[in-house]
Subunit: 235 residues, 2 copies
């Protein structure tokens, strides 16, 4: 089996880096593959702002050539437990689209990554979307990613001038959370640098009960790898 | 011929409103068609910040139900005369992609409009792109708009839940600038409320020589309608 993201060797890639486990794993994988790294963090005024600090630590740890943290206040629109005064669910994953779904978030994130990539002359974008654990999020589906890739090639100079084509890499798309934990381990990521919780405690701990904490715990347990996270409580 | 945007009658539409003549014409047309108006202005730290004031005046003039002005600093990326320290051209339109092209700008704008629309339960977006005068911009082409519409329906709850489909309306797509000036006049827009210049003078006048000023002047002249704009000089 070839190294994940092997085609990025020697190329410049824009990695969407939230500071969470998934995007940080993508950063580690792209680094391991030998890419020149650009990282993009979007401060969308999310409730769990602590993840922005994690993103800064990670960009430094992986020697990112340029890390842009850009503000885009999706709280202006609301419509999600991550961006409005709606409680973050604590009772476990439910069927359907979760209330933590942020309207059109990945479309916005990929678009801003496309702007960054085009301005830098890069044509590779890496995003840590996952179609298994986040199957309820419309913008984590493979057909969405394919459609965005097609759009990117119409939206930019490349589409008119027939230059190299944009590619959106989704190395975690078909992994379970346990698979992501293993991939992070193999790529040399220290998971203690990452942040998952949607609703941190005032002391800056993972709550241990939101969907994101539950998935993180389950991932480490199933991967049989040590979880360095301090959770305020257990589900 | 039916009224432009007639299908918007009684519906809620998100209008991308820069404060320029084109987007303001869209707002006036959607208003005339009987839509409930939401307006989205993106402060991308453009050089010509004076257009943000124009957007506010216009939203008020047309009784917009909700006007969101959201900051997204595309200057972080650069790559355009509108967002970097690159002189705005003053010698007339050249062939090819203009230096005033902002990487992936319309992709970003439409994505943010999609987030606003989805959060508000709206499925109609209006954007004043034009395929004639801006033929050099990749993200003003009809095939780009079609691709975005397809993406929007995969990216959102609507795509999973089979709800009403998103539509991107481009009422100016095939109009000349003179046609846009006439459409503005027919829709009852006071063009004095709008702003076009990419490089305003320190006194807050239209420079009269950038591509955008040239197109504006040409549009009024060819439409044989009075141009209320005060230009600092003539080309």
């Amino acid at each position: 089996m070839s190294l994940p993201l092997a085609t990025l060797s020697g190329r410049t890639a824009v990695v969407l880096l939230s500071g969470g486990l998934d995007s940080s794993t993508c950063l580690a994988m792209a680094s391991r593959a030998g890419a020149r790294l650009l990282a993009l963090t979007i401060d969308y005024n999310q409730r769990h702002r602590i993840e922005l600090e994690a993103a800064r630590r990670l960009a430094e740890a992986f020697g990112v050539a340029r890390h842009v943290c850009i503000a885009l206040d999706l709280r202006s629109f609301g419509g999600s437990a991550l961006t409005a005064d709606i409680p973050v669910p604590k009772t476990g994953l439910q069927p359907g689209i979760p209330i933590t779904y942020v309207p059109a978030r990945n479309t916005v994130f990929l678009s801003v990554a496309l702007a960054f990539a085009e301005a830098e002359g890069a044509t590779d974008i890496v995003i840590g979307v996952n179609a298994l654990d986040y199957s309820g999020y419309p913008d984590c589906r493979p057909e969405f990613i394919e459609a965005f890739e097609g759009l990117a090639n119409l939206a930019t100079r490349a589409g008119i001038e027939g230059q190299a084509r944009f590619r959106v890499h989704t190395p975690l798309l078909h992994l379970t959370k346990a698979g992501i934990v293993r991939a992070a381990h193999e790529a040399g990521l220290d998971p203690a640098l990452t942040w998952s919780c949607y609703d941190p405690t005032p002391q800056g701990l993972h709550c241990g009960r939101c969907d994101s904490c539950r998935l993180r715990q389950k991932g480490f347990a199933e991967a049989a790898l040590p979880d360095p996270t301090v959770y305020a409580c257990t589900p």
